[in-house]
Each structure stands twice: as C-alpha cells, then as structure tokens.
C-alpha cells in the first residue's frame, strides 16, 4: 500500500534510554554455550552492549520522563499536543491504554486524541503514517508520536537467540504541519499469516499467564524460555527481511522518482549487524550509509531503533542541516514499511538517559 503526504514534517525528536547498561561479555555465562561460539556471535551479529530497564520500570515511565524533559526545557508546550500516539508491544496494562496513562500523568488537555498501536519493529513507520493521517484534520496541528518498549521484562535471560540483542528504550517524535514542505512517500505491507514468527504466547486472553506459563522450558540449542517470554523464529524472520525489504525499497524509490544514490542515509530498523549488512549489500548501499550502531551500543528496542539511529547518527546536525533519509521497519505481524522524506530544521534531536533506580517519574 502506497502513501503520499504533503505539508508535514518531523520537527523534533528525543530518544530516551535506560542508564542501566549490560554487556554481552558479562552475560555469556547465562547461556549454556561454549565461550568461543558466543564470541563468534558477538563478532558477527554485533552483540556488545544493551540498555535494560531496572525493576518495574514501564513504558509510561520512559515516555513521561522524556516528555517532561521537553516541557521543562520549553521545547514542547503541553497545550499544543493535539494527539498522542503510543506504539508499543509492552503496555503498562492490558487496559487502559498506556497513551491515556501518559496523558493523565502529564495532565495534558482533554481536547486531544490518544491512541495505542500494538506494533513493533515497523512501528516507527506505522506511527508516522498514522500521525500524518491525523494531521489531515483541521483540529489537529501537532502530534506526539511515542515509540517505546521494555521487552527485556518479557525476554528470557537464558535465551541466547533473543536476550543478547534486546534493548529497552523510548522515543518522542513531534510531527506537525509544514506548508510547502517536500512530499513524503511511504509504503506498507502486512502478512498476518506469518503472525507466529514473533510472539509472546502467554499473557493475553488466548493463553492467560499462569504458574505453568512462567516455567522455563528447553527450546533447543541449550536455550531456556517460558511461554510468558518473547519467542522469535530467527530463521523465518531473517528470510522474511531479506526477501521483502529490498523490493519494498525499490518500489518506494520508484514511486518517488528517486535513486538510492540520492538518499543520504538509510536508517533502517536494527535487529543485528549481520542482517543489516546483508540488506545493504543486496541494495548496493555502502555500509556507512546504513548504520548498525544502535543495536551494538543500545540493543534492539523494536520500533525505537530508527528514531534512535536518527538521534545517534545525525543528532544536533538536524537543527542546521537537511538530509534525504529513507526509513524502513520490519517485524512483528509480520509488517514491513518504509518512508522517504527530508529531515532537517528540527527544534531538537537528542538522546538522553533515564536515570537508574529513579522509580516512577511523576510528571505534570
């Protein structure tokens, strides 16, 4: 499905990562696995550091902390927020929507639209599309898109397939109207027949969490995981990405009448270094234009890796400079989407730490 948007822009971006950092070298002992094989994985996949929340820190804690940071510095006026979209797979509760919790904790106005979207690694593209659609309404002038996940809390520390790459994080992206701005192209596809490739089996209505679903099971290759934990069919996901993403980018560029050479940065979701480098090679994109440094330094934080890549690689440059950027996200659903847009003239673009053991942040 193709999308085309006019007169919209990203005016600010903030990434929030827990200050608590873990190292793959320290965690290797959790896996019943020879050290030399773990070290080989570190080298190939880019496993190094990842940021993990502590205790019972939730998505709303990271989001409220980040929004309060912006409000305190007058980078965002709370009364200007007409819509708040939260994209997450790890909500505070099954109900109410976590976007409503964030609205309440910050005492935002009632005359606004709050929406939770259950999406993951394609969630930044999905969220931007939704934000742009909302901005078509006369009453909505500024949308705050929050991508946030704390999936480390639902990932087995004894699952070598998942835990080393998982990272927790949040991002806040301010989207608003921009009369005369460059056209934004996007596309999106979904395939629910492959929905089991990435899932947390227990915890919903189909399989409520019980004592049994919390029991660690041997799932092969010396990995232990419970039904309450994230389950990823790594081979299926890898194949899905390699098959679907390159033609999606070709279609996006064709729709925009652009070539890959005209794109300054390919800021893609970052599951691991190997997968990204294979994508870059297939698309004939220099590795330097498709960074993989987020997953290496912070871990894979689902829909947050793309905005983190923006903050980490471009950061303050986006206040004075402008770049043509291609975003691509792919993951749970399965869902894959991409967007080609001009980034620049932003009010803020930075990455901050959520302090250790700070407990609940009570904004507002």
């Amino acid at each position: 499905m193709k999308f085309l948007f006019r007169d919209k822009r990203i005016s600010g971006l903030l990434a929030v990562v827990p200050a608590n950092e873990a190292s793959f070298l320290d965690e290797m002992r959790n896996f019943d696995f020879p050290a030399h094989r773990s070290l080989k994985l570190k080298e190939v996949m880019g496993y190094d550091k990842h940021r993990l929340v502590q205790g019972e820190t939730c998505v709303s804690d990271l989001a409220v902390f980040g929004l309060q940071h912006l409000i305190d510095r007058r980078l965002l006026d709370r009364d200007d927020i007409d819509a708040l979209i939260l994209v997450t797979q790890s909500p505070d509760h099954l109900m109410p929507p976590t976007s409503s919790i964030i609205q309440g904790r910050l005492n935002l106005k009632q005359d606004m639209f709050c929406l939770d979207i259950n999406q993951g690694c394609a969630g930044f593209v999905v969220g931007l599309i939704e934000a742009f659609l909302l901005l078509e309404q006369e009453s909505i002038r500024k949308v705050v898109l929050i991508n946030a996940d704390v999936l480390s809390r639902r990932t087995s520390p004894k699952d070598r397939n998942s835990f080393p790459l998982i990272g927790d994080a949040a991002s806040i992206t301010v989207v608003e109207r921009d009369a005369g701005g460059a056209v934004i192209h996007a596309n999106l596809k979904m395939d629910g027949t492959r929905n089991e490739a990435l899932m947390i089996p227990a915890g919903g209505m189909r399989m409520p969490s019980t004592a049994d679903t919390a029991v660690l099971e041997d799932v092969g290759d010396n990995n232990l995981r419970a039904k309450d934990h994230l389950r990823m069919d790594g081979s299926a996901v890898f194949n899905f990405v390699q098959v679907e993403v390159p033609p999606m980018i070709d279609a996006l560029l064709a729709a925009a009448g652009a070539t890959g050479d005209a794109v300054d940065w390919f800021l893609f979701h970052q599951p691991n270094r190997f997968m990204l480098q294979k994508l870059a090679d297939k698309m004939h994109v220099p590795h330097a234009k498709m960074p993989s440094n987020v997953v290496e330094k912070f871990g894979n934080s689902s829909g947050v890796t793309i905005p983190m890549a923006v903050a980490l690689n471009l950061g303050q440059r986006l206040i004075a400079e402008r770049f043509r950027v291609c975003f691509a996200g792919f993951g749970v659903g399965l869902t894959w989407g991409s967007m080609l847009l001009s980034l620049g003239a932003m009010s803020f673009c930075e990455l901050i730490d959520y302090p250790n053991s700070s407990g609940l942040q009570t904004g507002g």
Partner: protein, 77 residues
C-alpha cells in the same frame, strides 16, 4: 577447496565431524547461528557476499551444498 570449507566449519564447531554427515543441521552439527557465522567466514575468505535469500538451511546441509552455493558466486573450487 573442500578442505578449506571443512577448516572454516571446524573453527566454528571443532567438536563436529563434518566429513561423516550429509545433514549438518539435522544431525546437530550446526545450528542457525553457526550458519550465520559460517556465511560471515565464507564471505571473508572467498571475497563474496552471499545474499540473504541464499542463507537457508538447504544451502548448508552438507559439503556438497556449500560448494554448490559458492560456485553460484563464481568461486573456483
């Protein structure tokens, strides 16, 4: 050349007897992560970039399958 492939396999899984198996993954000699480590090694040693769509179990089932894959990338074996 087959010896070079065996050498790379044994760097990843020194305990496995690759000459004795026709189904590395089925016999438990390699897992999916080993397959990725092997691709990285093959890319580096033979100066190719094996495409993601070719990183599937059937291309790493045994020495013949790996050799056939490398020939696809015009590696002289």
């Amino acid at each position: 050349m087959t010896d070079r492939i065996v050498g790379l396999l044994q760097e990843i899984r020194p305990e496995s007897d690759f000459a004795a198996s026709r189904d590395f993954l089925g016999d438990g000699l390699l897992d999916s992560f080993d397959m990725i480590a092997l691709v990285a090694a093959l890319d580096a040693v033979f100066r190719v970039s094996i495409e993601g769509v070719d990183i599937v179990p059937q291309n790493f089932q045994n020495l013949d399958a790996i050799a056939a894959l490398l020939r696809k990338y015009r590696v002289a074996l």
